[in-house]
Assembly symmetry: C2
Homo-oligomer: 431 residues x 2
């Protein structure tokens, strides 16, 4: 891994150090996704069959997972995994439930009551990737808040395997969260199907979940077309660790590697004010990476990653806020005292015993988080992501008598006479 | 206005009745906006000067509003309007403050504490239109929640007038909410300037506010490019009124017209189970529209609008939920009893004395709301729109000893060994 001294860099070099590996969507990807979306909109299920045969190498007559397939999945998943997923789902439920938005109401003037009601988004679509590794944990992270929100229609798409089945752990995870409509469709074609609907896949108001470059681009395209809203722009995963002299180099190295193994375009950064810790982490990374089954992927990610010597922990936070990492690990003594300094991040992990992997699976927090600096203006998935907040107001005759004149003056100043008239007609009666 | 009987229509005709006037962005608009954005990114302030001379017909050396201009605006705005805006700002503050997200924390397992902290988005950009009518009310609707959120950098763009000044009421409204950095830049060029920044306009993480087709398209393009997040896709304004036999036809007509006067592409719908009420509203609309200064605009909007006879108020709600109106007026007896039926809408107005104009100006609720059916999956602007919620977790040694094994099982099932290793290393010490 490359070690740099932040304060030896000029402003341009500092900016380059914080630049993510090129995220530009290839024109080729964009065009391919456009073509796939066009085919699904035009050809519906028949197009989905063609695309699935071509890209997933399997001829599927029926996309929806049957009762028999769910039953087979229950048999196929080891009890140990089933129990772990059940426990994870319970903690995800506990955490998400505690943070749910509540309706409220306030009298803003005598006789004028304003508030908000919370309503589930009616029809949502979840995408669970299953490329190099199927991710049942993602089914939990999307299914639990969808259920808590009370969404009326929840559908889940996940790619079929070569034998035409879906990953059994994903199916069991979906069922654990109450999701019963699962379709074996992957990639951009799944996103198009859920956005516009086909004869068998119902259309959705909002789509959620991570995916590869095609899925991500497809989500952007359906959002741009106004066909469905999306949870957030997603991209390759990343972690930033801030560590002090007291941190455990083996732990820090393990955390960097657990991000690096996600994919060759994952990015990991360590910021520390302690040169000895940085050197020790570098040695530990070298030691641990050699033992990983996904060593090749991790090494590619590490090549674009940095160990950064900073002047102080304060400076580390200022760099971190500028970078706005998806995951931020504070390997610091008294980490909670530093929390106030965090301005932009997706999810924060405090102290030596809170590896990112806990949040990825079972601390209870969500692992669908903003990447590529989007944490500056987006939050991770929560129950609120599956709900709308609708404002509600009620004025009595007394109420409009009190605030109506204010509206009249403003409407006339804006030259909107019909607005003024709608108020004036009531004032004639109300006063 | 056209009267239709919902239950006399077949499914296709019903779908057509709920179709908004064509919202397809002309390829020409898209290309024009792309060109404007390209010019601003390339040429910065010099490009802004060229574009402003060409499109706004004014040669501006300096875009930022000076202290002298703010002072002149204070003089130019009548005391009555200033007081009305002040009162409106106070009620907007009361309503928005009461609904602010709070941090929370919950123990999801012994020794595992998970929660959320709330942080202001650091740099936000507000757009206040000033085309056919400058909208100081919009400056209040964006400025108040930005201030409550605590955004560090708030900039506001609004188009210059022919004489090179900004609308004084917009300036006074901006100041009322604590916004001091106002730039006289309009249209797509303003959106580009705030997204990427120029020598004088600072770049922003998220952009807010309504605008014409160029502004709306520019917001979509900067969001798509990942340069800045946006509040929501915006479009022409719309209202849906559900009225029973007891409603006041003059009030309902006035409400329909106050939406219709916004623009020729505004849409208004009345749903009622009472034929006599529908006929009376039609007559009242005809009577009132003739007296409006913006009669021509309103008549264009009315041509695409409908008075719909439904079988029951229950049916009206089912149609409304399908349409997902920006504004929903319930001109019903005991309107609050019906509120539970509302599934998708931007803002709801209860009863005969709550015209939409109250919410547009001064009930306290926000008037920047999802249009074109986006209310199915988007909420109106609130303080939360200007904030991020960051998840935070802390596990003690006891905590990871308890839940670590669960993470281990799931990580191994997903084939992510480095994730498992990050947990296993801690378990060696923690147990």
């Amino acid at each position: 891994m490359n070690i740099i001294d932040w304060n030896a860099l000029d402003a341009d070099a500092q900016a380059r150090a914080l630049t993510r590996p090129a995220q530009a969507v290839a024109a080729q990807t964009r065009a391919a996704v456009e073509a796939l979306i066009g085919q699904v909109r035009e050809g519906g299920d028949a197009a989905l069959r063609d695309i699935t045969a071509r890209l997933d190498g399997v001829a599927l007559e029926r996309f929806e997972v049957s009762e028999a397939e769910f039953a087979a999945a229950e048999q196929a998943v080891p009890a140990e995994l089933r129990i772990a997923m059940q426990q994870a789902a319970e903690r995800i439920d506990t955490y998400h439930r505690a943070g749910m938005a509540q309706p409220y109401s306030v009298e803003t003037a005598p006789g004028v009551v304003c508030g908000k009601v919370v309503r589930a988004i009616a029809r949502v679509g979840l995408y669970v990737p299953a490329g190099s590794a199927p991710l049942p944990s993602t089914a939990l992270m999307l299914g639990v808040p969808a259920k808590l929100a009370g969404c009326r229609q929840v559908v889940l798409c996940t790619p079929p395997r070569r034998d035409g089945t879906a990953d059994p752990a994903v199916l069991v995870a979906a069922r654990l969260t109450g999701v019963h409509r699962v379709y074996k469709i992957g990639g951009a074609q799944a996103i198009a199907a859920m956005a516009w609907g086909t004869a068998t896949v119902p259309s959705c108001d909002k789509l959620f979940g991570p995916g590869n470059a095609y899925v991500t681009e497809a989500k952007q395209q359906v959002a741009q077309a106004g066909a469905a809203a999306i949870d957030m722009p997603a991209g390759p995963s990343e972690v930033l660790v801030i560590a002090d002299a007291g941190a455990n180099p083996a732990f820090v190295a393990a955390d960097l590697l657990s991000q690096a193994e996600h994919g060759p375009d994952s990015q990991v950064l360590l910021l520390s004010d302690d040169a000895a810790l940085i050197a020790a982490v570098r040695d530990e990374v070298e030691r641990q990476v050699a033992r990983l089954p996904r060593e090749a992927i991790a090494r590619q990610a590490l090549a674009a990653s940095l160990l950064v010597q900073v002047a102080s922990i304060e400076q580390a936070f200022s760099i971190s806020n500028r970078y706005a990492p998806e995951h931020l690990i504070l390997a610091l003594r008294q980490p909670r005292d530093w929390l106030e300094r965090v301005e932009a991040a997706g999810s924060v992990f405090l102290g030596d015993y809170t590896p990112e992997a806990l949040g990825d699976y079972c601390s209870g927090t969500n692992h669908v988080l903003p990447t590529a600096g989007a944490a500056r203006a987006y939050s991770g998935v929560s129950v609120a992501s599956f709900q709308n907040q609708i404002s509600v107001q009620a004025a009595s005759a007394q109420g409009i008598a009190g605030i109506g004149p204010c509206a009249l003056v403003m409407a006339r100043a804006e030259g909107l006479d019909a607005h003024a008239n709608a108020v004036a007609l009531r004032l004639e009666v109300a006063q």
